[in-house]
Amino acid sequence: MNKKTTISQIISWRIIFLFLFLSTNLNAQWLHDFNFINHEKDSMPAIRFDFDYEVAADAISNEFISTYAKDQFIDASLKDKVSGKLKSNNHLGSELNSGFGYRSKTFHKHWKSQVVLFQWTASIKQRLLFDASFAKDLFRLYFYGNKIYEGQEADFSNFNYSYQQFQQIQIGSIKTVIHPEATMRSFMAVSYLNGQDYLSVETKRGKLFTAKDAEYIDLDLALTSRQADSSNHKFGAVNGAGVSFNAGFMLEVNKWKYSLQFNDLGFISWNKKSSLVKIDTTYHFEGAEVQNVLDSIFIEIKSDQDFKNGFLQTHAFEKFTKSLPPQLLFSVETFALHPKIHAYGTARYRFGTGMIPHVLIGGDYLFSKSFYAGLNFQYGGYSKLHAGIRAAYDAGKGWMFYAGTSYLDGWLMKNNAGGVGGNLSLQKLF
């Protein structure tokens, strides 16, 4: 068997194996964050904690997001800075993952002169996915009010907002085939998802005309909104259930390693307490009709809901199923440049969101066998160009630490940067 033939055979065999669900699973972060340093440790049982988050936007600054997220007062100058950067269509996204997992020890097998290693994994995670696309007019209506549109029309069509939180219990397997010329690793995981909270708003058509002197308001709105049971959306609330599937494949040849992953292929079925609001209306409002103001002044507005009901068309409670936005990730990494330099590049895309393809390249320097650090640069996603740093440390006795951020500029230049994020991991090998 020549080398080329052997690799081809192995790849073919891997793909078949992957789709026959006979291969093992490998978590993406495990794949990226640790396994390149100590290959020999990939086969060790481990328990670990991971936390990562990312909030990014192409027009909204970190300062604005921070002020909003911290429930502080958003003053006019802050709004003006953001407003000046807004384009006709804008994006904002966020992702937060935290959890811990377990990886088993390795089970060896020999098959046709190859060494085959099996491991199983289990993890539990808290997930948050947020995605929004909005028009400039929507931001200005929301944060400035409609007075600036007096005598004009504000167009906030094509507004999309999706927010979901869920808990993920994942069981998977990793299968590593060690060949004299290559190492292949495949992974597969199945997750049970507990739906905690969900809210989506989709505005296909949204226009608000405010007449001079506010003599009338015309609203042209086609909106669909679904929301999970709003009476309980705290951590652990059971408002839905679903499954998801993760799979990946890694090929390591010489000093190059290629990996391809599909994450979050799945769905959550939200229960019948979920609400559906559908509005498709043109609403002309000149004020509440009063027969004779000289008789009595009687105003009864119980809540904002009363006004909404003026043009509400459908409000129902029903269960629904919503797929997760699946993510495709491809990465390449190598030590070919220098034994102490680890170079890597990653491209990812999450389908069904407002993000554009996200590309990240970077390099790490191995200062010692137990410590490395490096820089990276990214472009795309929900934002533009950002720089990042990361570092890892093997503290011995099985303890390993990892921390990094892809938004170093976001930490240093809050006013201008449009993204913030970071990740932190702890791992204990046994």
């Binding site: 808290q126 009010g145 506010a214 009864e300």
Partner: protein, 698 residues
């Protein structure tokens, strides 16, 4: 488990606890009530309304003329003649003690006989033979007791007779027969009489009065003496069974007291007329709207008494009013009684009394009272001293209708006041109505003529203390009111009222000035005379209780006027529920007024506290400009004005929490100045309230 494994397991646990704690902390550190805040500027329409003249002049009837110009129409009662003021049926009762007219007893029949053989034993041997009977004196017969206790025990007679019929069955005449009947118990002779001659086979009768005598149930009869002249020379056939028979018939017994078996008889049978006091009203006919007849009866008779009370002239559906009832026997020395009330509703009363006597009587009814006892076969005691006490009462009788002569009378009404809401919220410095039509309308549903005198009438404006007396011919001449017509009588067809309208306007009175005073009260006094010409209908006046005489004051005010600072003011309640306006930090409310009326309006709304003290005013500027009029004096284009209300948090709080009422004052001045303007039905004042708020949201 080895020591090494145990140590590693503990480290697992510690690690898991640490991680779980971090996850929980991250997930739960955010509170729901914490939200970012920012300021927005919201402009929005809030309320809109359109006011016509009906809305501006609250509580007023408004109608349009043919040219769609507006007139105010007002109507209110001045005076309603009540039926009570004409006549009423006072509660009336008829009390009567009915003594027993007479008591009748059954006739008694007693037969007493004595045979020839008994009186003349010597003839016994010649029985069956013919022989000559010589003159002979019969011996006295012994006392024979007659027992009649199956008929009566005792009776004291007012009147009564006993017929003594002696039938001579002997073959020879009887002469000088003395017959004696006495009361066995008292020994009192009831009857003793002498029959001088009774020929053979004939009957001689004597009647003896028993008046004043008391008769008990045991009697004694006896032939005291009797003779015979004999048969002379003619032999007669001797039959010793031939008898002399005394047939005693006691009849026409009317005791003053008796214990006896009484026959069925009416003890009382009286008809009696009685009169209602209706004052000057003389009714021939009436219909009862409601009322009752209460009957109270008391009896001392020791027998069941069946009484019947009837009012032959009171009928309902063709049936006369009649009550029958049986009183139980009164105990000895006691009374039995009965009391009940009977509905008298809807009875038709012919009040001419007993029609068999006269038909000219008025206000009179008559009733019939009967008391009867039945023959029960039982021994009862009755006395002429027994009586029946009857009290017949007419209670709460109100008429639905009356016909007759309603009398000639005078009724004064007032001084009285009529309060008018029409102008209560209006003041003006100079208000001149071009003209008004004021009328006093009388709808007479009574079948009687009348005259009305308006003694005085004054327009009183208590807000400026100006009083304008009504002047004109109406005060010096009466208003003649013809009678209504009632074809066919009671409810045959609806009565036709006579409607009289006395119109007051600028040509015959000072009515425009009277109304331009914008009175909130009219003081007046009236005098009404009925039947000023007397009984011209010859007892055919009529009145229905639900259709009388009604006096109305009507105003028709064409809204064509000149006004300088005509002021409308009103207080309106404010109720704002569950509105959280605390996030409004400031701004303005704008009242956009599209004025379609030809007058300038200055509007201000004042917040009032619970003591009605003014705490704030709303508008910064208050002028709503008049719409222009064309050459015909009519508005064709509205005029827009904006009134600004500055909004602060303090004012919002005051409005929401300290303002239960608001006072609205509007001043109107007609334009062009000094020109009389007309108000048309299509004039509108369109109002729209918009808000321009600084709103702090989250």
């Amino acid at each position: 488990m080895s020591h090494f494994k145990q140590h590693r397991f503990k480290r697992y646990i510690h690690f898991l606890v640490l991680i779980c704690g971090m996850i929980y902390f991250i997930s739960s550190c955010k509170r729901d009530d914490q939200r970012a805040q920012w300021d927005t500027e919201i402009i929005t329409p809030l309320l809109k309304s359109s006011l016509g003249i009906k809305d501006l002049l609250n509580d007023t009837s408004i109608s349009a003329n043919a040219d769609s110009s507006i007139k105010l129409v007002y109507q209110n009662h001045l005076y309603d003649v009540s039926l009570d003021s004409l006549f009423r049926f006072f509660d009336t009762s008829v009390t009567k003690v009915y003594n027993i007219d007479s008591i009748s007893l059954l006739d008694q029949h007693i037969v007493y006989s004595v045979s020839l053989g008994y009186l003349y034993p010597a003839l016994g041997s010649q029985n069956g033979t013919s022989t000559i009977i010589p003159p002979f004196t019969f011996p006295s017969t012994p006392d024979t007791t007659i027992n009649v206790d199956s008929l009566f025990q005792t009776m004291t007679l007012v009147t009564g007779y006993i017929d003594i019929a002696i039938t001579n069955g002997f073959p020879v005449p009887i002469t000088n027969l003395i017959f004696l009947l006495k009361d066995s118990i008292t020994g009192v002779y009831l009857a003793q009489d002498t029959f001088a001659l009774i020929p053979p086979n004939t009957t001689a009768t004597k009647t003896v009065s028993l008046a004043g005598k008391t008769v008990n149930s045991k009697l004694t009869a006896r032939i005291v003496s009797m003779n015979t002249p004999g048969s002379g020379f003619t032999p007669v056939l001797i039959d010793t069974s031939d008898a002399l028979t005394a047939d005693l018939r006691i009849h026409d017994l009317h005791p003053s007291y008796a214990t006896a078996i009484f026959p069925t008889q009416n003890l009382v049978d009286k008809a009696q007329a009685f009169k209602f006091d209706l004052g000057k009203v003389q009714l021939k006919e009436a219909v009862v709207k409601k009322g009752a007849i209460v009957i109270n009866l008391y009896s001392t008779l020791q027998d069941s008494v069946h009484f019947t009370y009837s009012l032959p002239n009171a009928t309902k559906n063709g049936n006369q009013f009649i009550v029958t009832r049986t009183l139980p026997p009164a105990p000895p020395g006691g009374i039995s009684s009965f009391s009940n009330s009977y509905d008298f509703t809807d009875y038709h009363l012919d009040m001419r009394g007993d029609l068999s006597i006269s038909q000219d009587t008025v206000n009179t009814m008559y009733n019939v009272f009967q008391a009867r006892v039945d023959s029960t076969g039982q021994m009862k005691t009755l006395s002429l001293n027994d009586s029946i006490y009857a009290n017949i009462g007419f209670q709460g009788v109100t008429p639905a209708y009356g016909r007759g002569y309603l009398g000639q009378d005078t009724f004064n009404f007032g001084p009285a006041s009529l309060y008018i809401d029409m102008f209560k919220n209006i003041n003006a410095n100079n208000f001149q109505l071009q003209d008004v039509k004021m009328s006093i309308d009388v709808e007479n549903n009574i079948g009687a003529d009348g005259t009305v005198f308006i003694q005085n009438m004054r327009s009183v404006n208590t807000r400026n203390n100006i009083t304008v007396p009504l002047t004109g011919a109406i005060l010096s001449s009466p208003i003649l009111i013809p009678r209504a017509i009632d074809p066919g009588g009671f409810n045959a067809v609806p009565a036709i009222p006579a409607v009289t309208s006395y119109v007051l306007n600028g040509s015959n009175s000072n009515a425009p000035a009277f109304v331009s005073n914008l009175p909130n009260r009219i003081d007046y006094s009236l005098e009404l005379q009925t039947n000023p010409l007397g009984n011209v209908s010859v007892f055919n006046d009529f009145v229905y209780s639900d259709k009388l005489m009604r006096f109305d004051l009507n105003l028709e005010i064409p809204l064509s006027f000149v006004a300088d600072d005509l002021t409308l003011f009103d207080t309106v309640n404010v109720s704002v529920n569950a509105v959280d306006l605390s996030r409004i930090t400031g701004g303005t409310l704008t009242l956009i007024a599209d004025n379609g009326f030809p007058f300038d309006a200055t509007v201000q709304m004042f917040m009032l506290d619970k003591f009605n003290n003014v705490t704030d005013s709303l508008f910064a500027n208050t002028i709503i400009t008049a719409a222009p009029v064309n050459a015909n004096g009519k508005v064709t284009v509205k005029k827009k004005s904006k009134l600004i209300i500055p909004v602060t948090q303090e004012r919002i709080y005051r409005f929401l929490h300290e303002t239960p009422r608001m006072k609205v004052i509007s001043h109107f001045t007609t334009k062009p100045t000094g020109q009389t303007i007309k108000i048309y039905s299509d004039y509108r004042l369109d109002l729209q309230l918009t808000g321009d708020f600084n709103y702090r949201t989250n």
